[in-house]
């Protein structure tokens, strides 16, 4: 198992939580996203859409084998090459192979969480193939040699001044922190990359079983260029992205952008059906679709199956009080926030993220906004249960067993109450409880129990 930073969550979040600038940026950005989301749902019936979306996603995941093979057949008929990868290593090796066979030296890439998950860009760059992130937010974090801190707004943690300094240092622009200026500079540099690149990589928001289409949703136009301006287009996505029908898009298109950025629809939606046709004058000549498992299939049939319904809108991050205070980097995973606290231990192993399911106040805001109706906070709770059950020490097991017995027997309860009152003030006990009392007070025990006070008439 590859080690990921999420192992060190406890150290990471402590560093982030004291960063006032970060918290101010996050607060501004997430509150704005929450407001726009609310506004954008006024025109449609959210509950109707959510119910339909949940049903369709449940159908998709519970029929995954049928739908995947249907998708695969149609995508092949459309001229695509399909490759299934159980592990990140396999997926990376395939993409590298395609690039090498075609003498590719420059790749333009649009935003894709799965490529982050399998660490594709550092891998390809390490093999000497320049791979440029073309989404503005991703480009910023790539220049800064950082990781994205939000699923849909990767550079949400950076202020305009930090970005201006970064552009000045890395691409030689003048020091000007106007977002319009910075965006125009990025356009200039990246346009040249699009015109010189010989391969494009993208993710996919949905795969349609009945047509073999890959659907990509975006605002900037970089995904359109990454998928259309080179001879080879490689889609890297998860096996769970499949949905049954083209007509199901009427539900998801109305939910995804509203949940994510508060838009009715993103600026661009590309529904791609394989390589260019004979009568078409541009578009890729080769389209490869890499379907990554990386732990997803192991969730099927478990109580965590519904996590696979996620459409990665990012709404649960924007409303999460924990995320708003510590930001994405604290999670040490490409998937931050409530959904990240679920999928990180699931895809990367519980040992890699033992604390993430505990990084939640269980307030349920996430569940309330989730457009596909995932019971996120219940899932977090059940994951906590599993982690605690698996790692309980002998002492803990002994203590919990006795706690249970105590709660079931009144005589024993009285006796334990007496012990607690007797020893709660002892310095030794307080030292033993140090971890707990670091952040909260150990309550004072009264000198008598309720029953004793009642009997002595003190309560009258």
């Amino acid at each position: 198992m590859t080690e990921i930073e999420a192992r060190h969550f406890k150290e990471l979040y402590k560093k982030q939580i004291v960063n006032d600038q970060l918290r101010a940026n996050l607060s501004k950005a997430t509150l704005q996203a929450v407001d726009s989301r609310g506004e954008s749902f006024k025109e449609v019936d959210f509950e109707f859409l959510r119910k339909q979306a949940k049903m369709i996603r449940e159908e998709s995941v519970s029929h995954l084998n049928q739908l995947l093979s249907q998708f695969e057949d149609h995508a092949r008929e459309n001229g695509c090459k399909i490759f299934y990868a159980e592990t990140p290593e396999k997926a990376r090796a395939y993409v590298l192979d395609v690039a090498m066979k075609n003498n590719v030296n420059l790749i333009v890439k649009s935003k894709s969480m799965v490529t982050e998950e399998i660490e594709l860009v550092p891998f390809l760059s390490g093999k000497g193939i320049e791979t440029v992130e073309t989404d503005l937010g991703e480009y910023i974090v790539q220049l800064a040699k950082e990781k994205p801190s939000h699923i849909t707004t990767p550079a949400i943690h950076k202020s305009r001044t930090e970005i201006a300094q970064l552009f000045h240092d890395k691409i030689g622009t003048e020091m000007n922190n106007d977002p319009k200026f910075l965006t125009a500079e990025a356009r200039r540099v990246l346009r040249e990359k699009f015109l010189s690149a010989n391969m494009g990589i993208s993710g996919a928001n949905f795969l349609i079983a009945e047509t073999g289409d890959a659907v990509i949703v975006e605002n900037e136009g970089n995904a359109r260029l990454s998928t259309s301006s080179t001879d080879i287009h490689v889609v890297v996505t998860g096996i769970e992205k499949v949905i049954p029908k083209f007509s199901d898009l009427r539900i998801f298109m109305r939910l995804l952008a509203r949940s994510s950025t508060g838009q009715k629809l993103t600026s661009y939606v590309s529904v791609l059906r394989g390589p260019r046709r004979e009568e078409e004058k541009d578009g890729p000549r080769e389209v490869h679709i890499v379907l990554v498992d990386n732990g997803r299939s192991s969730l099927l049939g478990t109580e965590h199956q519904e996590v696979l319904n996620c459409i990665r809108c990012g709404a649960c991050l924007n409303v999460c009080p924990v995320y708003r205070n510590i930001g994405g980097h604290a999670y040490g995973s490409v998937y931050p926030g409530p959904i990240g606290s679920l999928v990180t231990p699931m895809y990367f192993g519980e040992k890699n993220a033992p604390d993430l399911p505990f990084a939640s106040s269980l307030c349920g805001n996430c569940t309330e906004v989730c457009p596909v109706g995932i019971e996120i906070h219940h899932q977090l709770l059940s994951l906590r249960n599993e982690i605690v059950a698996a790692k309980k020490s002998r002492i803990e097991r002994f203590l919990f067993k006795n706690y249970r017995k105590t709660m079931l027997r009144p005589g024993r309860y009285r006796m334990m109450g007496r012990f607690a009152r007797m020893f709660s003030k002892s310095a030794l006990v307080r030292r033993m409880m140090k971890q707990w009392t670091d952040y909260r007070d150990l309550p004072e025990f009264p000198s008598q129990s309720f029953r004793e006070m009642y009997k002595s008439g003190k309560l009258n």
């Binding site: 449609v44 490759f83 299934y84 356009r187 009715k264 661009y268 004058k281």
Partner: protein, 217 residues
């Protein structure tokens, strides 16, 4: 290279062995709270409202002169114009002045393929569309060249009122599913980003300006 298809399918079958529910009954109702836009005028108003909110513009012209004047007024640079041949055929009368005063290329000039730098050099692209959607102010493109609409600074679409459909419910149907071609592109306003402190900036990669013209005969 051998892929992991069999392994993954075996894992899926193992996981799904437990009884899972059957097919979902779709509810075909529209999720829109207000009734659909019945006639062209109502649809156009909604379409225009949505597009204007995003920074685009929509117009109805009933004469060729109107279209011609509009294009001349908005295409002021000398970066060149890309014209779809289908547009030239239908709107030649509206384009004659433009063609005599601006450098332009037709899609048929690229019959044998082209270098993407040639298309990137155009300032404006004038295209036909498969549909427009009133609900969201969206243009639906299904053309045999993908790049002009993605690379030009200014995007013009000229179309007829019959192509303006009410909602996304009408788009995601068999008609558009089975229309052929390798791509269906939905364009909703100018290209935009809010990646820097959530401040909205248009024209990050694609067109900065989007105009839709309905020609009502």
């Amino acid at each position: 290279m051998e892929d992991d298809r069999e392994k993954i399918f075996a894992a899926i079958r193992r996981g799904l062995r437990k009884d899972q529910h059957s097919d979902t009954e779709r509810d075909g109702r529209s999720p829109l709270n207000t009734p659909l836009f019945a006639d062209f005028q109502m649809r156009f108003e909604k379409f225009s409202d949505e597009l204007v909110k995003l920074g685009g513009e929509a117009y109805v012209f009933s004469d060729y002169q109107g279209i011609s004047d509009f294009l001349l007024e908005h295409i002021t640079d000398d970066a060149g114009v890309f014209l779809y041949d289908e547009i030239r055929e239908k709107y030649d009368r509206a384009l004659s002045e433009l063609k005599s005063t601006r450098a332009y290329k037709l899609s048929t000039d690229f019959e044998n393929g082209y270098d993407k730098r040639d298309v990137a050099a155009f300032g404006s692209a004038i295209l036909p569309c498969a549909a427009c959607i009133a609900e969201t102010g969206t243009i639906v493109l299904r053309n045999n060249m993908r790049l002009p609409a993605a690379l030009a600074t200014r995007l013009f679409v000229i179309t007829e009122p019959a192509r303006l459909i009410a909602s996304l419910d009408e788009l995601f149907t068999e008609k558009f599913r089975d229309a052929g071609g390798s791509n269906l592109f939905l364009v909703t306003g100018p290209s935009r980003t809010a990646d820097i402190e959530k401040e909205l900036v248009t024209g990050v990669h694609g067109p900065k300006e989007v105009y839709v013209i309905f020609h009502k005969e």
